[in-house]
């Protein structure tokens, strides 16, 4: 391969991220790029170490999926000094724009507000008490998706978040926390569930079923990511809406890099991926079939 690109991935903490890794590797292979992959096990320090090692190794470019927004200035500066372009994947950083070439991301706040807006439309002014399953406390998706959702429902007095607790982005915690919501608030009093990711929603659906309620009908469910299992649930009428976060961030990123390395075309600073809303109106079974082998 004539191009060597380093990819510093956060880790493999969720199915979505595993899919992103798979897709990135596929995209690199498709283009004949030698991809150096480094898994940081959820630690920023490991990501910084990896980037420094990439620089020491003299790669042609670096893909970085940053675990957190802050703290990249120093190492990005080193990359810049070594004239290695850096492309950010799926999250941006709090660093001067000249330190990286471009960022291919969705807008986390926007995702939250799409979910909120869907619920606003769905309830159409009827009173609705919402429970919220937050992501890992302190993680940027948890903070931004909460923020976006709250923005969208603010001003609609019929919508109220009555309980909000972290489900750590995991299916089992989603189920456990939903169980406690059902008891603490009372299943009949919950009108909708907003989960920061689909995995927690899938867990919560099971808790709702075990409590003798019908997910999707008795309790409306909206979540984010669009992983295969939530489409399966939607096909069964057990969930209502999901917002897609595409795992294919590498495609646009590598396109931009190749163009730049070929003739110096500067891409825009932000390549935003679409946050597509899927509802029961879509052919969820087909989407499930399509997505299930993507490595989620």
């Amino acid at each position: 391969a004539d191009l060597t690109i380093g990819f510093s991935q956060i880790g493999s903490e969720s199915g979505w991220r595993a899919a992103e890794t798979t897709v990135t590797k596929q995209e690199a292979e498709k283009r004949g790029i030698d991809l150096k992959f480094a898994d940081a096990q959820q630690k920023q320090e490991n990501q910084i170490k990896a980037i420094r090692s990439f620089i020491a190794q003299g790669v042609d470019a670096i893909l970085l999926a940053p675990v957190v927004a802050t703290g990249w200035d120093e190492v990005l500066e080193e990359a810049k000094d070594a004239e290695i372009p850096v492309v950010l994947l799926d999250r941006t950083v709090d660093a001067p724009e000249d330190l990286y070439m471009t960022a291919v991301t969705s807008d986390l706040v926007h995702e939250g507000s799409v979910a909120g807006q869907w619920l606003v439309d769905e309830t159409a002014g009827e009173k609705c008490d919402i429970v919220e399953l937050q992501g890992t406390t302190g993680s940027s998706p948890a903070i931004d998706r909460k923020k976006g959702f709250e923005q969208a429902i603010s001003g609609h007095d019929n919508l109220n978040i009555v309980r909000s607790q972290t489900g750590d982005f995991t299916r089992s915690q989603g189920k456990v926390v939903m169980e406690s919501f059902l008891k603490a608030v009372g299943g009949a009093n919950i009108c909708a569930l907003y989960a920061h990711n689909d995995d927690m929603a899938v867990g919560a659906i099971q808790a709702i079923k075990e409590a003798g309620l019908k997910p999707g009908e008795d309790i409306k469910i909206v979540s984010i990511d669009s992983v295969p299992d939530i489409h399966l649930a939607m096909a069964n009428g057990e969930a209502n809406a999901t917002i897609e976060l595409t795992p294919n961030m590498a495609g646009p990123a590598l396109d931009a890099l190749e163009a730049y390395l070929a003739d110096g075309t500067m891409p825009p600073k932000w390549i935003q991926t679409e946050s597509k809303l899927y509802t029961l109106k879509d052919d969820n079974m087909a989407i499930y079939e399509m997505k299930k082998d993507l490595g989620y």
């Binding site: 480094a38 920023q44 320090e45 170490k49 090692s53 957190v68």
Partner: protein
């Protein structure tokens, strides 16, 4: 040369051997960049590991360091954001907090006779919880003093940057070595590790030493937190999860026995380097999937332990057969 220096020599030999092997595979690993990175990237871990070495030498363990580092970072970031305090004052403040925190854990361990594992586990929850309460967001630090500190580096030929933080780590190790072997406090730490009741009968001031050990570890975790905040220019409550396990692994790879009483601060330094080397090697290789990364790290950890065990066994077998199991009890 004391016969007890053997584990230290073995660790150093292991490192040299491993480095040579890595370099023969990837010549770029000989560059000053890699050397400088080993120092800079592991600075905070190294400093925390010095504290951990003292704790483990005394027969204890400190699970709270990762959380204390995160807390320090968040505390600094929040205080520098919300007040106009100078960072140096903030450093003093945060060190005072972490030292007292460590001392409080030491006091609980000594006066309430509770096992360190559990006390520091509770401390780990508490410190991280406190970080969350301060801020769940990651808070950037944008003080010009930080920029000044960050711009202090020496750029070696070949592009390696030897930064202030790495030098502070080296200094910490030097001080640690002197304290461990040349002061009464250090000797008392070893004494504690040799046996608590015996140390008591020999007149070692247990309360003072125990509290001192955990205060040292807390303080060094605080210093590591300051270094980490310099490293990332931010404070983040989810940072450095599990760093305590890395520090423990470094101490153990460095030849210190977890049962306490035997080991060297200098060994920990090479333990840190060996761990950094493993990571660098994996990144240079760049073909391992997420899961193979974990398996390989575990496998290499096992390999090092085994190598150490084997060398120790081979060299001590001839010396003292009679005390084969007296040594373990």
């Amino acid at each position: 040369m004391r016969s007890t220096h053997l584990p230290l020599l073995i660790t150093i030999a292991t490192f040299v051997l491993a480095y040579t092997l890595c370099a023969s595979q990837y010549p770029a690993m000989l560059s000053t960049r890699v050397v400088a990175n080993l120092l800079t990237d592991n600075a905070f871990l190294g400093i925390a590991a010095v504290g951990m070495t003292f704790v483990i030498l005394s027969g204890g363990i400190d699970l709270s360091v990762g959380s204390v580092i995160a807390f320090t970072g968040v505390f600094l970031a929040v205080i520098l954001r919300d007040t106009s305090i100078h960072p140096l004052v903030a450093f003093v403040l945060v060190l005072a907090i972490t030292i007292s925190f460590g001392a409080a854990m030491g006091a609980m361990i000594h006066y309430l006779e509770m096992p360190p594992f559990i006390v520091t586990l509770a401390g780990m929850f508490l410190a991280r919880g406190a970080a969350y309460v301060l801020s769940t967001d990651s808070v950037p630090i944008t003080h010009e003093f930080y920029d000044t500190l960050q711009s202090l580096y020496w750029k070696a030929p070949g592009g390696g940057r030897f930064r202030l933080t790495g030098m502070i780590m080296l200094l910490t190790f030097l001080v640690g070595i002197v304290v461990a072997h040349r002061t009464r406090f250090g000797q008392n730490v070893y004494a504690l590790g040799g046996g608590l009741s015996t140390a008591r009968l020999m007149g070692v001031p247990l309360a003072r030493t125990t509290i001192g050990i955990y205060a040292t570890s807390g303080g060094l975790a605080g210093l590591a937190g300051i270094i980490f905040s310099l490293y990332t220019s931010a404070g983040y409550s989810l940072a450095t999860v599990g760093v305590e396990l890395d520090a423990i692994a470094a101490v153990v790879i460095g030849g210190t026995l977890l049962t306490g009483g035997t080991g060297f601060v200098a060994g920990t330094f090479f333990g840190i380097l060996i761990m950094g080397l493993i990571q660098t090697f994996i990144v240079f290789d760049g073909t391992l999937s997420s899961w193979w990364t974990k398996i390989v790290i575990g496998g290499l950890l096992f390999g090092f332990i085994l190598l150490q065990k084997g060398l120790t066994w081979a060299t001590t077998l001839r010396r003292k057969p009679a005390t084969e199991f007296a040594a373990q009890s």
